[in-house]
């Protein structure tokens, strides 16, 4: 059995760890509220953008001449994956969940004999992917310096993606991020952004007759790159809310576990103290008896 001194030391060390996790939890909770707010505020923009694009793509009569960002290159050989993770650890399964989802997709692509290219956003994703897919990573981006998620960071990523698309470096682009559902649940998402999936097309009937200025094609070709940035921005917002939520619940668990550990150690400490006292008593009594 560990000595009393050792136990005491362990108890105090667990207690100070508990203090740290508790503080981290509270910081995460405060940040979560802000992140959630900005995720909600950002929604109208991306929703409206989506709506306009839907209306526009409905208005396009000549599918063959549609911008490539909408219809794709017509091939399906090179896939670009943008994996968005956090820059900091200690947030539970947040990064691992995204990576898991992404790895499944990677495997599928490679099994089909297609080429895989990866862009990582956030350092944690790169750390986890570099061993297995190091050769596939063509770019890694990190926004450690930016305090809050802002549109210009997203725009930077968007511009990189579009630049590569214009150079015909890939055919299909998908982004991976965690969608924020609530504090306990974050759903890893895979979303294809090039070519744009317009599955909801049927919902919007063709009743709206819009006037376009300039032509539909020209608006679309201007709008689609913006939409890419918007989608990435939305993913970043969701991601940051998810990250804080995930960290909060992870730290909550850690605090609780530390509490349990302290309780257990305290019992052990008390028992061994009691045992030591009893032992001393027995020694005294038996010493007295022998006199």
């Amino acid at each position: 059995m560990a000595s009393l001194d050792d136990l005491k030391k362990r108890i105090s060390s667990v207690k100070s760890t508990q203090k740290i996790t508790k503080a981290m939890k509270m910081v995460a909770a405060a940040k979560l509220r802000r992140a959630q707010e900005s995720a909600e505020k950002g929604r109208p923009y991306s929703d409206k953008m989506n709506n306009i694009i839907l209306n526009l793509s409905n208005g396009i009569s000549d599918i063959d001449n549609a911008p490539k960002l909408l219809s794709g290159t017509g091939e399906d050989k090179v896939h670009l994956c943008v994996v968005m993770t956090s820059d900091r650890g200690l947030c539970g399964g947040f990064n691992t969940n995204i990576i898991k989802k992404a790895k499944l997709y990677f495997q599928k692509i490679l099994d089909e004999g297609k080429t895989l290219k990866i862009i990582t956003v956030g350092t944690k994703g790169y750390d986890q992917l570099k061993r297995l897919y190091g050769d596939n990573i063509i770019e890694r981006i990190s926004f450690k310096e930016s305090k809050n998620v802002n549109y210009f960071d997203a725009d930077k990523v968007g511009k990189i993606v579009i630049e590569k698309f214009d150079k015909n470096e890939f055919d299909v682009c998908a982004i991976f991020y965690n969608q924020f559902k609530n504090v306990i649940t974050q759903i890893p998402q895979e979303q294809q952004i090039i070519p744009l999936k317009t599955s909801e097309k049927e919902e919007n009937s063709l009743e709206d007759n819009y006037e376009f200025e300039p032509e539909e094609d020209e608006i679309l070709s201007n709008l689609l790159p913006k939409n890419i940035s918007t989608q990435i921005f939305k993913a970043m917002l969701e991601n940051s809310a998810s990250e804080q939520g995930s960290r909060m619940s992870a730290m909550d668990n850690a605090t609780r576990n530390a509490g349990e550990m302290v309780d257990k150690l305290t019992i052990e400490y008390n028992r061994s103290r009691q045992a030591a006292i009893t032992k001393e008593l027995i020694e005294i009594i038996s010493g007295a008896e022998s006199l």
Binding site: G42, K48, E213
Partner: protein, 130 residues
């Protein structure tokens, strides 16, 4: 009959402005300024850098935008833009900062005509503010 309709300006971070007593909005559309009154036909257009003017019962407001898309439908005008500044509380430094970077951009040799056109417009709009 009232001549008012509603306008909403959103940027990626938040809903920037929402009004429902607007009588006219003038936007710097790509092919020239458009004034939008009530019951305008549904229109989608995108903006070049310039000034948005909003006339409402409570007065006139002006904003500088960098780019954007507008959609008008059923007497609802939505303006999406990545950068918008209210001219009332704008600071001169910010303007000259944008102006400077635009000028630098313009001096690069590898820009195409469309970009050049947009930058020219941007500078013109910025100069009119200062």
């Amino acid at each position: 009959m009232s001549e008012e309709y509603s306008v909403e300006i959103v940027n990626p971070e938040k809903s920037f402005l929402s009004k429902n007593d607007v009588t006219e909005v003038v936007v710097p559309a790509f092919e020239g300024e458009i004034g939008i009154l009530k019951d305008h036909i549904s229109i989608i257009s995108f903006l070049k850098p310039g000034i948005i003017k909003i006339f409402s019962k409570s007065g006139e407001e002006s904003f500088y935008v960098n780019d954007g898309i507008i959609e008008f439908k059923d007497n609802n005008l939505s303006i999406l833009t990545s950068l918008i500044l209210n001219l009332k509380d704008i600071d001169k430094e910010k303007i000259s900062e944008i102006q400077k970077s635009a000028e630098e951009e313009l001096n690069k040799s590898d820009i195409n005509d469309q970009e050049k056109y947009l930058l020219d417009q941007k500078l013109e709009a910025l100069k009119s503010i200062n």
